[in-house]
Symmetry: C2
Subunit: 219 residues, 2 copies
C-alpha cells in the first residue's frame, strides 16, 4: 500500500480512526465523483467553489474561462486545496450527540500549474470529458482553435492528501441501548437515469454505447 | 422578491445569466442539502472541508469539537465562505466545449460567531438535527451536560450570497446541429432508501414517523 506522507496539513485530527492516506483509496474516491470543491484566497478571504475535474495518476485537472477568478487566484497562490465528498447515509443515533453521516471524503493539497503545452492541454481536456462518461471523448466534436484558446486548464499536482471514510452503523453510548429510542441508518446514493436525447438530433443518431454503459453502471 | 446585494464578493461573473441573488431560492437550495463545504485559511493556505449544517432565517449553524481546526480558524477570521451544490445532471453536448452539468449551487459569505448562550446553543443543535430529518429532535435523547459542553457551535450570519442554477438541455453551436453527433442530458439525483434499524433496539421500538416520512419524500 502506497500512502501519502502525513503532515500537519493533511493529518486527520478529528476522528483519526476514520482516516486513511492510502493512495489507491484516495484515487477511488476521487474517480467516483463528478464535482469537487476548491478553496482559494481572494482579498484575504477564503472562498470555496464547486467545479468539474478529472484525475490522472497524481494530477487533478480543472478547467474554466481565461478570466475565471478562482483559477487565476489558484495560479497566483501556486497551491490548492480540493475536497471531494460522497454522502452515503444519515446515521440517526439514540442520542442527539452521536448523530453522524456515512461518507467518503478526500482532501487534496496540491501545487498548481497552468498547462501551456497544446498536446498536454488537449489530453487534460480529454481526461476531464472522459471523467464524465468514460470513453465519451471519441463521440464528440473536439475543441476548435477558438474554443481551445478560450479555455484555461490547470493541473493540481497532489503533494499530499487524506481520506476520511465512515461506513458503519450507529455508535451510541451503551447506557442508551436499553432506552426506548429508535436508532438506525438511512442509506443515501446518487443515482443516474436514462439519458434524455436532444430534440434536434439528425435522424439515425443514437445514444452512444459509452453513455448507455455509464447509465447502466450508475443506475 | 428579496435579494442579496451584489458586490465584488458574491457577484457571479462566469455565466451571469444563471445567477440569482433571490433569498428564497438561496434558502431552498441550502435547505435541500445535507452537507456544505466550508473554506478557511490556515497557515496562509485556503483549505476546504465538508460538514453538516442547518439554516434558520439568515443564519447557518455548524458544529464540531472544541478543538476543530476549521471552526477555530473561522472564529479567528470572523468570516466564512460556504458552498452547497446539488448535481442534477450531466450535459453531454455535440462538442467537447459545450459539455456542462445541471446543478443548483449557493455560495454564502458570512460573519462568524461562537454561540455562547446555552438556550441559543441548544436551539442551534436542534436545528442541525432537524435539518437531517425534520422533527427528529423529538425522538432522540438530548445532549447531557458533558456532551453539550464538548460541542462547539458556530453561527454564520449570511451577509451576502449568490445562487447559480443550470437546469436545461444542451447548448451547442448551431453549426454542429446537422453533424452526426449525439447530444443529451443524463439526469442525476440523490435518493434515500428505507431506514435500516440498529440490531440492538429494545423490543417494540419502531421507526419513528418523522423518519418514515423523510424517506418517503426523498426516495
Amino acid at each position: 500500500m502506497t500512502e501519502y506522507k502525513v503532515s500537519a496539513l493533511n493529518k486527520v485530527v478529528r476522528g483519526p480512526k476514520r482516516a486513511s492516506y492510502d493512495v489507491d483509496l484516495i484515487n477511488k474516491i476521487l474517480d467516483d465523483a463528478f464535482l469537487c470543491h476548491v478553496a482559494y484566497v481572494w482579498n484575504d478571504q477564503a472562498i470555496v467553489i464547486p467545479t468539474a475535474y478529472a484525475r490522472k495518476d497524481d494530477k487533478i485537472y480543472i478547467h474554466g474561462s481565461l478570466k475565471n477568478r478562482m483559477m487565476l487566484s489558484l495560479l497566483e497562490a501556486g497551491k490548492a486545496s480540493v475536497s471531494v465528498t460522497h454522502l452515503d447515509g444519515l446515521v440517526l443515533a439514540r442520542s442527539a450527540f452521536h448523530h453522524s453521516a456515512n461518507y467518503r471524503s478526500v482532501n487534496v493539497f496540491g501545487s498548481v500549474r497552468k498547462i501551456e503545452d497544446s498536446e498536454e492541454k488537449m489530453e487534460a481536456l480529454k481526461c476531464i470529458l472522459n471523467h464524465m462518461v468514460p470513453g465519451h471523448w471519441d463521440n464528440v466534436r473536439h475543441p476548435n482553435n477558438k474554443e481551445f484558446n478560450a479555455t484555461l486548464v490547470i493541473e493540481i499536482s497532489m503533494d499530499t492528501a487524506s481520506a476520511k471514510v465512515r461506513a458503519e452503523g450507529v455508535n451510541d453510548e451503551l447506557d442508551d441501548h436499553d432506552k426506548p429510542y429508535w436508532a438506525g441508518v438511512i442509506p443515501i446514493k446518487q443515482v443516474v437515469f436514462d439519458a434524455v436525447s436532444d430534440n434536434d438530433l439528425p435522424k439515425g443518431v443514437k445514444v452512444p454505447q459509452a453513455v448507455l454503459e455509464y447509465v447502466e453502471k450508475n443506475k
